[in-house]
């Protein structure tokens, strides 16, 4: 069975500082990995995804994530955050043999930006 763990429930950072949101997954087969962002009082939207190929994936709003198979991680990074990045971020995992119902979401990391 697949699972995903987001190690930090909250991450406070100062504006213009770098940030890393951590995500680790567990799977015995190949995986697809996703990061979604949820702005206050909105639904989730896709930030980026890894299906195959280059392990460094670039997404919207300057975010990127790196797939590390040996560490079973898919950490999300941004070199300089802005107040508008305040949101909750969800890591998700699935796989090529998974059905439509098998996207597993992490518990979320709330990113708060201090001016």
């Amino acid at each position: 069975a697949q699972s995903v763990t987001q190690l930090d429930s909250q991450v406070p950072v100062f504006e213009e500082a770098p940030v890393e949101l951590r995500c680790n997954y567990s799977s015995s087969v190949s995986v697809y990995l996703f990061w979604y962002v949820q702005y206050p009082n909105q639904g989730l939207q896709l930030l980026l995804k890894y299906l195959s190929g280059s392990t460094l994936v670039k997404g919207i709003n300057g975010f990127e994530a790196e797939f590390n198979k040996s560490q079973t991680s898919f950490h999300l990074r941004k070199p300089s955050v802005h107040i508008s990045d305040t949101a909750e971020y969800f890591c998700a995992v699935s796989g090529p043999r998974s059905s439509a119902s098998k996207i597993i979401f992490g518990s979320g990391t709330r990113l708060s930006i201090r001016p």
Partner: protein, 114 residues
């Protein structure tokens, strides 16, 4: 550019009452999903549909029913609401299977059961 629209956005029920949440998408997507979001638990799949007239159970289906009579609509019903069903409910849709295709979410429906 409506995307995925959920109604109502807020609802308060008493234990034992029934209600229906409506999800409508205008992107001609085949796949539709209902999730619930609870603090510290991420999103959990309640039911999903891979096409008009089809539905299937997700991770936490008990106490809920769904119907997909039209491709663009996916209804979530609570026959006898319980306080444990207090949550934020999200509908999502995707063109391909959500496994590789992007999920498009509505803005959520906040339900409180007293």
């Amino acid at each position: 550019n409506a995307g995925v629209t959920q109604t109502p956005k807020f609802r308060v029920l008493k234990t034992g009452q029934s209600m229906t949440l409506l999800c409508a998408q205008d992107m001609n997507h085949e796949y539709m999903y209902w999730y619930r979001q609870d603090p510290g638990m991420g999103l959990r799949l309640i039911h999903y549909s891979v096409g008009e007239g089809t539905t299937a159970k997700g991770e936490v289906p008990d106490g809920y029913n769904v119907s997909r009579l039209k491709k663009q609509n996916f209804l979530l019903g609570l026959e006898s609401a319980a306080p444990s069903q207090t949550s934020v409910y999200f509908c999502a849709s995707s063109y391909l299977s959500g496994v590789t295709g992007e999920l498009f979410f509505g803005e959520g429906s906040r339900l409180t059961v007293l």
